[in-house]
Amino acid sequence: MSDTNDLIPGFLRGEPEILQELYTETYPIVKRYIMSRDGTLKDAEDIFHNALVLLFVKLKNEKLNIQSFENYLFTVCRNMWRREIKKKRVTNVDVSTLVNESVEMSTFYTEQNQWDLYQEKFKELTDSCQAILKLVFQKIAYASIVETFGYASETVARQRVFKCKSRLVLLIQRDTRYKRLKK
């Protein structure tokens, strides 16, 4: 797989060799992810296409601080699919809603930026806070968390989780990007 810095200029030019590489290396992983979560082949194709368009727009308009282009592309696809799953669950309609296509894309763009910010702040937490919150976010039962971390009781574990989450919330609130995003 090409180095991220080498790959981006070719991607923005839509060079066939780069697109071939992305469709050969990353698309199968995305396809497997979506199809194993109730998605169809067409869902996978569309999500991958839209994620590439989103990355094109993002890279054209902002400086992206990413370690790996392919990993970030997968993250965007995963988030797009999470959003689709939530939409399906919440709207529960038989046909697609008539929302303007560009509005949908720019809404997701904003939501992805919000997610990137939260994720960035999460990584600023201490290792122990990250470890316990990861388990909480994965809906692991508090009883298991107590055992895993050796806390004296569930109450102690909940207090620790609250402190870590409060720290994360504070880090988010202090960031100028959040101030810009909020109402």
């Binding site: 194993s36 999470r82 038989d94 995003l181």
Partner: protein, 269 residues
């Protein structure tokens, strides 16, 4: 300061659902009157779904943030890029050509309709013996053994499970290696995580060696190695070796995925 502590204590008990109905009603009244408190509650709830596979944090902020990005997707350059992608797929990947739009709309179906469509789609695909499709169907790692079992205080093992769920397969392999180096016994569950991670990273030979280590062990779950070896051959597209591995599993009713192996064999033949 005292007031802050009181708010924090109330917020914590509210979010942990530890308030009495009266306290809850009172606090909700307080939330309704305080935009700052509303924001705190909203953020606490949002970060809860940061990594939730079935949920997503929608944007509830300034709508202008969205509006100002719309032209970026209506830009000629973006449309040209989208068109280039569609053409590339049609020419190189053999996909069905579709009209070039910026946002390829995903049809939103009701749960029932989606299930029917998926069932029809899978039936059509597996009938043709498409190994790639069969791999997608059978390579579910949902029943991997838990590494955060009751009584086991091994934090590193719990982290391996977390990394695996986050699909950080290279890190899973490194962590398992580190744990094994510091342990006298080989943990079969950890080896399973290592093997599946190698499989996900297309390190087929390594995966086969890991699963061989499991099958040749004296553990109660040694037979799981046969099924996972079959998954390696399925992903590789090696039909002959796949059938051989599946036949071992199908011939032993006590073996892991015995019935599924039999069904898969029928689909392959």
């Amino acid at each position: 300061m005292e007031q802050d502590n009181f708010i924090n204590d109330s917020l914590e008990r509210y979010l942990n659902d530890q308030m009495t109905p009266e306290e809850k009603a009172q606090f909700e009244k307080q939330i309704a009157q305080s935009p700052e408190l509303q924001e705190l509650v909203e953020l606490h709830e949002q970060v809860n779904v940061l990594d939730d596979e079935a949920d997503w944090i929608t944007f509830e902020g300034d709508v202008n943030e969205i509006k100002e990005k719309i032209p970026l997707f209506e830009d000629e350059e973006t449309k040209a890029f989208s068109k280039k992608l569609s053409e590339f797929k049609s020419n190189q990947m053999g996909a069905t050509g579709r009209k070039s739009v910026v946002w390829k709309r995903l049809a939103v179906f009701s749960g029932v309709a989606a299930s029917i469509l998926l069932a029809v789609f899978l039936t059509l695909q597996t009938g043709g013996g498409d190994l790639d499709q069969l791999y997608v169907e059978h390579s579910s790692w949902n029943d991997m053994p838990s590494l955060t079992v009751k009584g086991d205080l091994h934090l590193n093992k719990a982290i391996v499970e977390q990394l695996f769920q986050q699909k950080k397969y290279a890190e899973v392999i490194t962590s398992v290696r580190e744990i094994s180096l510091n342990s006298e016994e080989t943990d079969m569950a950890l080896l399973l995580y290592q093997g599946v991670s190698q499989l996900e990273l297309d390190q087929y030979e390594n995966a086969i060696n890991t699963f061989a280590e499991i099958t040749s062990s004296n553990t109660i779950d040694h037979h799981k190695g046969y099924w996972y070896t079959a998954m390696v051959y399925l992903k590789q597209g090696d039909k002959t070796s796949l059938i051989k591995s599946l036949e071992v599993v199908a011939a032993n009713p006590a073996y892991y995925k015995h019935t599924e192996a039999g069904n898969l064999l029928k689909e392959l033949k």
